[in-house]
Amino acid sequence: MNQFEFLRYVNLGQYLPTGSWIHRLDVRVRILAAVFLLLSLTLTGRPVALMIALMGLLALLSLARVPWAYALRNLLPPLPFLLLLAVLQVFFNPRPLVTDTLIFQWHWVSVSMASLLAGVTLLLRFSALILTLSLATYCISTSEMIHGLEALLSPLQRVGVPARMFVMMVQVMLRFLPFLALAAERIAKAQASRGAQWGSRRGSLIQRARQVIPLLVPLFLTGLHRAENLALAMETRGYDGESAHTSLFAAHFSWRDALAVMVVLMFSVVLLLV
């Protein structure tokens, strides 16, 4: 594994154009569906609901013609952290309820039914959230995302909320991230070739923290410099933040889209009620 491949950690643009039924839905529907799912997954507290959600997500992955193995691979990198959190949750549940059934106790370490459930819930919830986000990135390309957001938020513009500005910010951020990752990679390499030790775990914490300064200062400066150039380029092309602007978004809302929205909405409500 290469210690300098920062782009590896940027998970954007993993759009998979499989041309499935889901991909052909109105992009607003896809965004709304993702939002509904994320909200219900965050708000629900029951392992049963989360199990149902996971099964629903796997079904959606099949519908989107994304191989399960490919999607599930996204769970691997955060898995150690999740397991650690779950274990902490299970063993060090701060306040076992009186009604709780104790399964195991050793000195101040205790495992109760409730803490076990809490651990499982945590694992399931994060897995479901990660899968939802992956599904969304597989099915919504960044440019569709921008168009969709613009269409969804444009009514707010009339109320005086600077929706267009917000969408522009998201857009610039999305397109800047990969380039910033590349810049960080280049800077880290340059400092390493001047003797800095990247990736090596030697040295005290302070020493390692000090290694970051030679990375952050140039990254910050490059970022500023680029932002300035970008602002100039945008001005050159007639952007001034306020005046009229044509949207390229062509709405094609059909009965299928309506159906999809209804289904997802109902699914989310069910998750909350179970």
Binding site: N2, F4, E5, L7, R8, G13, Q14, L16, S141, T142, S143, M145, I146, H147, Q171, V172, L174, R175, P178, F179, L182, R186, I187, K189, A190, Q191, A192, S193, R194, G195, A196, Q197, S200, I213, P214, V217, P218, L221, T222, H225, R226, N229, L230, L232, A233, M234, E235, T236, R237, G238, Y239, D240, S243, A244, H245, T246, S247, L248, A250
Partner: protein, 642 residues
Amino acid sequence: MYKKVNSTASVEIDIITDYIISELYRVIFVHSILLWSYFCFSSHTKETEEGKMKTVSALIEIENLSFQYPAGGAEPMRALRNVSLRIEAGEYVALIGANGSGKTTLARHLNALLLPSAGTVRVEGMDTRDPHHQRRIRSIVGMVMQYPEDQIVATSVEDDVAFGPQNLGLAVDEIRRRIEDSLKAVGMWELRHRPPYLLSAGQIQRVALAGILAMRPRCIVFDEATSMLDPLGRRTVLNLIDQLHHEGITIITVTHFMNEAARAGRVVVLHQGRVVMDDEPEKVFSHVQELEEMGLGLPATVQTVQALKAVSLNLPGGLLRVDDLIRALPDYTGGKTPDVELSPPKSHSLSTQSALVEVRGLEHTYLSGTPLAQRALEGVDFHLAEGSAHGILGSTGSGKSTLLQHLNGLLLPQAGYVRVGSFLLHQKDVDLQSVRCFAGLVFQFPETQFFEQYVGDEIAYGLRLLKRTKEQIRADVRWAMEIVGLDFECYKDRLTFTLSGGESRKVALASILALRPRLLLLDEPLAGLDPLSRRELLTKLKRLQREGLTVVLSSHHMEEVAELTDELTVFHHGKDVMRGGVREVFDRVDELRAFGLEPPVAVRVAAALRQRGWHLPPGLIRPRELAVQIEHLLVRSSYESV
């Protein structure tokens, strides 16, 4: 009956009608003449009026423009002083000048990105200071900038091109049509759904150009738009510029490359914020002395022409493009070809020396195991003799940088054998820090990686990490600074961000040299510098190499490579496709072209001369060598004919 009775009367009537009719004719005739002359006259006056309009307001009109950048506290820096220029519609103007001469500042005044401190700039008669005109002005004068990726707004090519027309508030159908037209014009239509970070610099620059074209400007300013591109990308953009100019779009190009300036119809030279020359390129480039003093050079073609004329080869005037020069080359007329053995200019004999670097079967894939996986090196072999200067050529993404990064252990081989000095990099337990000190790598645009406030600290960074003593650090920093030509006392306490382009490049070089590497790896060391700094740094590098440092250099500029290196490796799609002495490789013109490279002008001229019967030895890569050989030939043939 009736008629006869009134015969006299009828005659009278006839006479009267005749009179009336003739009178009518006369009136009609006179009036038509009057009308005709009126139309002629009026259209004539209209024409002269239009002519007057043209002479009154040019496309861009700059009067006594001065500009100073606001500087907090310090004395304001005057970037432009009393500049007056008129640019007519349809012109092709090149703006040249050393770093800090005000070129970019001037360019940014042309579409109201900057507003004058004094004087006026008018575009189609509209003052750029008037905020109501700014949007209109920016749709008339478009601009393509130096850093390709900084101009991209959107997350896909298509959306990015739409950005300008969207801001103009055009209808959706019209925008779609313009996206198609402009992407097709720059040859990027097939890649319209790509995210920009998966494109090469040359491709992104074409997208940026398409984004401007979609606004249908009358004038496009190219601000060092080719400086970040490889030879192929540069040639493509330059050809596009020519094509746009033929279609009637006014072109203004700001450039450090004299070759590019020579393509324009008019060259404006800026020096310390003033216009010092404004003429046809032919005339501007005849002021050799003045240009030299301002830190500018001559186009390679003009240099070659001068060298050839110096040995009294017959050439017409006004040769600015290589193709024109090649067409104008004379046939060999001096008697029969002398039957003498050809002696190519001497190269270093390299095979006898021990190899400092040995690479066999090197493989590398970026982002392996992801959908973005990209094969960068495929079974690469590479040998480097101690004390040699090796050039690496190839287009962007051909694997040059990847190889360089393997030579100092930034990247570790995924497969293959890599030996650098006594370090075996394909083995797991190699001491990477020692490798990186042994082989110092200077990155492209190293000054963007500065993080210390003072020059001295910046150079000492690596030494401090190596835990050297204070005295030793001081001595090493001093040594490195003197080597690159920066006075230690004078520069060690300078603030890094106040350095000029050439100075910061020297600091970056010194910060690597301070670690005393045996092998110096340079990735595009001269990119983005003005001709004067280029020349200075090239001299320094040559001296280092003569003193025994082994140098590997990757570059897009063939003239630099011809100056500095004695061996070449050419990369193409991750493979080492050509290898050998610099003279031999450059002589294989057709192969180089197939890999998107263009050999130096002198090589191309030599090849053309050989075709015309000149009996020139192989391996002529510099104008002077070529001239010397031609002189030999002319002298010898005249001697033989006597």
